[in-house]
C-alpha cells in the first residue's frame, strides 16, 4: 500500500498507533510486575496481537460493543478503557473497573460497550450474539464484535452462536484471533479443517486476514461492520497472529519449550507495531522522532497508571458481600425517589 487508506485520516491512524503502543507498554509493565510477584493471580498477555484489537475496534463507533476473552487487556484498551483503572483492578483496588471483584480476566466497562471479558474459552460468544440481538430488537444500529481465539473455535457455542446470528441476521462480527496455540498445544493439531470454512458452511461471510497488519484488519472488519449495519447479518473473520508471551505468565515453570525458536523469531520479525510504524513513516504521517514522542507518552501513561493504582485504596472486605444483585440497589434507589 503506497498511500494511506482513504477512510482513515491522520488523526485516526495516529490514534491506532497510540493504542497499539499503550497495549504493548501496559502489558510489558504487567510482565515485570508479575515476575516480581506484585500481581495477585495470573495474567494472559496480548503482546504481538495488538493489530487485531486495534484494527477491529478502530472500525467501530462508541455505541458499538465488544465481548472479550481471558486475553482481554488489548481489547479493552482498543475500545477506550483507561489503563489507570485497569491497573487498579489488576492490583485488586477499589478504584479498579470492577472495584477489585473481577481482576485481569473480568474487567468490563459497560458504558464503553465492553459487554464482558471471559475466563471461559468461548463463553463470550452467546453474550455477543445476545447484545446484537438486543440492539437489533430495539431498533439501534449498533454492532457487536465478538473476540475469541482459535481454541474457542472448537467450542460448541461457536457453531451455535454463528447459526443463531445467521438465522436471525444479527449484527455481530465474530473475530477469531488465531494466535496458533490452544494453551500449550499447536492449534493445527487440535483443529480439523479451516476455521473460516465453519462460517461458510452456515452461510456466514467468512474471510482471513493478516492479524499483524492493523490497517488490513481495520478494512476487513470495517466491511463486516458495514454489512452488519446494513442488516446483512454476521461475518466471521479469522486474524492470523501470534502471541509473543506464553499462554499465561510464569508458564515456563511447567510448560517446557513447546514452540520452536525459529517460529517465535519469525513472528517477532513481523512485529505489528514495527510494520505499522514503517507504513506511517512511508506515508509521511509519523517520523521516527514523532514515534518516539508517542511511545514516551504511552510509557509515561503506564507509569502514571501504576502510581494511581498503587495509591488507590484497597476495598473494604465487607464489599465482598455486595453487588450480587445490583438491581436490588437500583430498585430501592428508584423507590426512594
Amino acid at each position: 500500500m503506497t498511500s494511506p487508506p482513504a477512510n482513515l485520516d491522520h488523526d485516526q491512524l495516529l490514534q491506532m498507533m497510540r493504542r497499539m503502543l499503550r497495549i504493548r507498554r501496559f502489558e510489558e509493565k504487567l510482565a515485570v510486575l508479575f515476575k516480581r510477584g506484585r500481581l495477585p493471580g495470573f495474567i494472559h498477555l496480548y503482546i504481538g496481537e495488538e493489530a487485531v484489537a486495534v484494527g477491529a475496534c478502530s472500525a467501530l463507533v462508541e455505541a458499538d460493543r465488544i465481548t472479550s476473552t481471558h486475553r482481554g487487556h488489548g481489547h479493552l484498551i482498543a475500545k477506550g478503557a483507561e489503563v489507570s483503572r485497569m491497573m487498579a483492578e489488576l492490583l485488586g483496588r477499589r478504584d479498579g473497573y470492577c472495584r477489585g471483584k473481577g481482576g485481569s480476566m473480568h474487567i468490563v466497562d459497560f458504558s464503553l460497550g465492553i459487554m464482558g471479558t471471559n475466563g471461559i474459552v468461548g463463553g463470550g460468544i452467546p453474550i455477543a450474539v445476545g447484545s446484537a440481538w438486543g440492539d437489533k430488537t430495539q431498533g439501534r444500529d449498533s454492532v457487536t464484535i465478538c473476540f475469541f481465539g482459535d481454541g474457542a473455535a472448537n467450542q460448541g457455542v461457536f457453531l451455535e452462536g454463528m447459526n443463531l446470528a445467521a438465522i436471525w441476521k444479527l449484527p455481530v462480527i465474530f473475530v477469531c484471533e488465531n494466535n496458533q496455540y490452544t494453551e500449550w498445544t499447536a492449534s493445527s493439531k487440535l483443529t480439523s479443517g479451516e476455521i473460516t470454512d465453519r462460517g461458510r458452511a452456515l452461510g456466514v461471510h467468512a474471510e482471513r486476514v493478516d492479524g499483524n497488519d492493523v490497517v488490513g484488519v481495520h478494512e476487513v472488519v470495517g466491511a463486516a461492520v458495514a454489512r452488519a449495519r446494513n442488516a446483512e447479518g454476521p461475518s466471521l473473520i479469522e486474524a492470523l497472529t501470534y502471541r509473543w508471551h506464553g499462554h499465561n505468565e510464569g508458564e515456563e515453570a511447567f510448560s517446557g519449550a513447546y514452540r520452536p525458536e525459529d517460529e517465535i523469531a519469525d513472528w517477532r520479525s513481523r512485529d505489528p507495531i514495527e510494520q505499522f510504524r514503517a507504513k506511517l513513516r512511508d506515508w509521511g504521517i509519523l517520523d521516527d522522532a514523532g514515534f518516539e514522542q508517542l511511545d514516551k507518552t504511552e510509557v509515561d501513561r503506564v507509569e502514571e497508571a501504576l502510581s494511581f493504582a498503587e495509591a488507590a485504596e484497597l476495598p473494604d472486605p465487607e464489599e465482598a458481600l455486595e453487588h450480587l444483585f445490583p438491581g436490588d440497589q437500583a430498585a430501592s434507589a428508584t423507590e426512594a425517589v
Partner: protein, 330 residues
Amino acid sequence: MSGDREIYFIKAMYEGLRDAMREDETVVVIGEDVDRSIIGATRGLIDEFGSERVRNTPISEATFVGACIGAAAVGLRPVVDLMVGSFFYVAMDQVGNQAAKLPYMSGGQISLPLVYFTASGPSGSAAAQHSESPHPMLMNLAGLKIVMPSTPHDAKGLMISAIREPNPVVYFQDAVLGGVKGPVPEETYAIPLGVSEVKREGDDVTVVAIGSLVLKALSVARELEEKGISVEVVDPRSLAPLDTETIIASVRKTGRLVVCDNARRTCSAASEIAATVSEQAWDALKAPPLRVAWENVPVPFSPELEKRVLVDEDDIRTAVMKTVGATAKV
C-alpha cells in the same frame, strides 16, 4: 379470593407472561417451540405479541440462555422457556459462569433482568434425563433468584414479579402441577420474591414443603388433624432468597421440623433449610429436623422403581409421625 375463577396452573403462568408483556414492550419470550408450546405456558402469546417478541430458537440451550445475558445488558427483558429442568445442564456455563456472575464480577455495574423458566421434577416415567430438579444446584451458585410456586395463584403472581425483577430469576414449574386448577384473580398482581406463605397453620409440627409437595403436605396435614396432630405447612415459594424468618418463627412455635423437597437428598433445598433451622433455632427444637427427599440416585423409568425413589404422602406422614414420637400407621 373465593370469588376468583378457577384456572389451570399452566394458564396462570401464561397470564403472568401475557400481563408482563403487555406492561413492558421490552419483554421478549424465546425458547424451543414457544409459538405452540409443548408444556403450555407460552401458547397463544405469539398471536398477541408477534414473532419478534415470541421467538422460536434452535436447540442450542447454551447459546440462547447466554444470548439473554447480552440482550438483558443492552435493555431487553428476555424470558426463556427452557422446557425441561435438566436442559439447564446443557447451558450450565452460561448459567453458572456468566449469568450468575457477571453483575457481581463487574462490581455491580449492571443488573441483568432476565428469567429462565422451566418445568422441573418428575412427571411420571419420564426417566432420568427428564425428571431432574436442578434447583438445589442453582441455589448454590448465588447470583440467581429462584422461585417455585405451588398454586395457580402464586404461579401468576410470581411470574409477574420474576419478569419485573431487575436481577436474573429462575422460575421452576413443578411438572406435575401444570394441570392443577385453582382460583386466580383476573387482574395483574405481583407476589414478592423472597416471601414465603404459611399455607396452613398448626401447632405441633412445621412442614416446609416445596412445589407440588405443598399439596401433598396439606393432604397429610388434613388427615393427621383427625388424629389430633396439628401440622403447620409453610411454602417458601422462593428458594433464593429464602424467607428463613417465617420458617424459623414457625419452628419456634411448633418445635419440630420436616422439610419436603422434590430433589435428591444430598445438598437439597431441604438440607439447606434443615441446616439453617438447626443453626438458628436449635434451642427451640424438640426433635431432630427431618428431610423428606429423593433417594440419592437418578430417577428411574419403571413406575415401580420411580415410586421407590421419589417422595409421596406416606413419606411425609412417616416423617411427621417420627418427629412427634409416634410410629406411622399406613
